[in-house]
Amino acid sequence: MTDHKTGTPEEWLAARLELLAAEKELTRRSDELARRRQELPWYRIDKDYRFDTDQGPASLAGLFQGRSQLLVYHFMFGPGYTAGCPNCSAIADGFSGSVVHLAHHDVTLCAVSRAPLAKLQAYKHRMGWSFPWASSSGSDFNYDFHVSHTQQEWQAGAVQYNFREMDFRPPAGQESSRDAWSESTFGEDWETYRREGPGMSAFALEDGAVYHTYSAYERGIDVLWGMYAWLDRAPRGRNETGIWWRRHDEYDSQ
């Protein structure tokens, strides 16, 4: 027997239909938000960012690969990391199957990280992904889009992230446990790991000019974690008490 409330099919249906009305309302609001995003003004990117890609050096316009829309996934992979971030890896597992479809709807999805290209290529091979992944090593790109943070910002407890200042320093007493976790996961201490952050940024290319149209961080990128959409419909929900996700080849058993 279960402790959960049970019902007849008729009782379930009545409750389900009530919920359906709320779900439809959420879908309509989601459509409305999408319209509002499209109505955001654009601003022109005049800085000349340079990236290293599988095809050689590229500008930001070059990352569009001939399409008019670019989605950058800011993948946490700092220069000293020994492997990519597990969160970002789970996100990439979720979007990698859709990249080919987006590419045929005028959207190039490209991951960008500060680690050198050779590290990104090796990790991509290990994970079995095929989406483009560019290195912004030596470019201000990650700092300008607030997904890499300077030591000064960190030490001031005033990291610019998700359109506000945040303090990512560990609470007193937790420094060593955080360091131990990040050392074992990335080969870096907590600060070096956490001075990179996840996010997504969208761009438009028109008449040779690149415009920044949208960026999102924190829970704004929940939608990229395909698994959360599933878990939000599972009987136990997200059911999270800590960091449970691993790189897909590092789960103990499936």
């Binding site: 999408a34 989605l71 359109f163 789960y251």
Partner: protein, 245 residues
């Protein structure tokens, strides 16, 4: 020059921060809905269903594969289909990479279709998927859960044959069948839990309720052109091995 409104970076950021407030409210509403879903009563499933799986006949409880939560996508592949349509195929493309993470959260995703198993196996090989896919050809499961119809074609509420969106005819042709044959199936998700040896249904959804499986949509909802498909929604999708490149 672009026709779109151009602003300074500061103006963009001010507009973005305004929108962020709405986005955060939306996220909180979504969390509240997820809680409401979990509060739905559960319905005990008393009927015995028997599916054709790669390793033989399986009951509904056996589809859980040792986990306590089962999420069925009623993948549209009817008896008259010669192949799956591109839209359903794009759903499986997105799902395949999520399997290890969902398994780690005690969730088993599985595809269930009405076509005979041998057809499903051949198509799965072609597409290179690893997700478990079973046939309900010899059980009432898809009929009982509203995903297959033996007589009247299934169609979105309020639409007659003339009002069907263009994607229906296109998908029927891609599936090698006619429109009534194609609409013997409809897209749906059914969720179950297994506890104390008993299976309960917890949740079900269909039509736009299955949009969460199409993870290109939330991405397009954040791009400058949006979904950019008008009334011809989903007609731009192809099977991943059929795009002209």
């Amino acid at each position: 020059m672009t026709d779109h409104q151009i602003a300074s970076r500061e103006e963009w950021q001010a507009a973005r921060e305004e929108l962020l407030k709405r986005e955060k409210e939306h996220t909180r509403t979504g969390d509240a809905l997820a809680r409401q879903r979990r509060e739905l009563p559960w319905v005990a499933i008393g009927k015995e269903y028997r599916f054709d799986a790669d390793d033989g006949t399986r009951t509904l409880a056996e589809l859980f594969d040792g986990r306590s939560q089962l999420m069925v996508y009623h993948f549209m592949y009817g008896p008259s289909y010669q192949a799956a349509d591109p839209v359903n195929s794009s759903i499986a493309d997105g799902l395949d990479g999520l399997l290890p993470h969902l398994h780690a959260r005690d969730v088993t995703p599985v595809l269930v279709s009405q076509a005979p198993l041998v057809k499903l196996q051949a198509y799965k090989r072609r597409m290179g998927w690893s997700i478990p896919w079973v046939s309900a050809a010899n059980t009432d499961f898809n009929f009982d859960f509203g995903a297959s119809a033996a007589q009247e074609p299934l169609r979105p509420p309020g639409l007659d044959e003339d009002g069907l969106p263009p994607v229906v005819a296109q998908n029927a042709a891609a599936a090698g069948t006619d429109i009534p044959g194609y609409l013997s199936e409809s897209p749906a998700v059914s969720v179950f839990t297994l506890t104390g040896g008993a299976v309960y249904q917890t949740y079900a959804t269909t039509w736009r309720g299955v949009e969460f499986l199409m993870n290109y949509y939330p991405i397009l909802d954040r791009m400058p052109k949006g979904r950019d498909e008008g009334d011809a929604w989903q007609t731009w999708l192809r099977r991943h091995d059929e795009y002209d490149d």
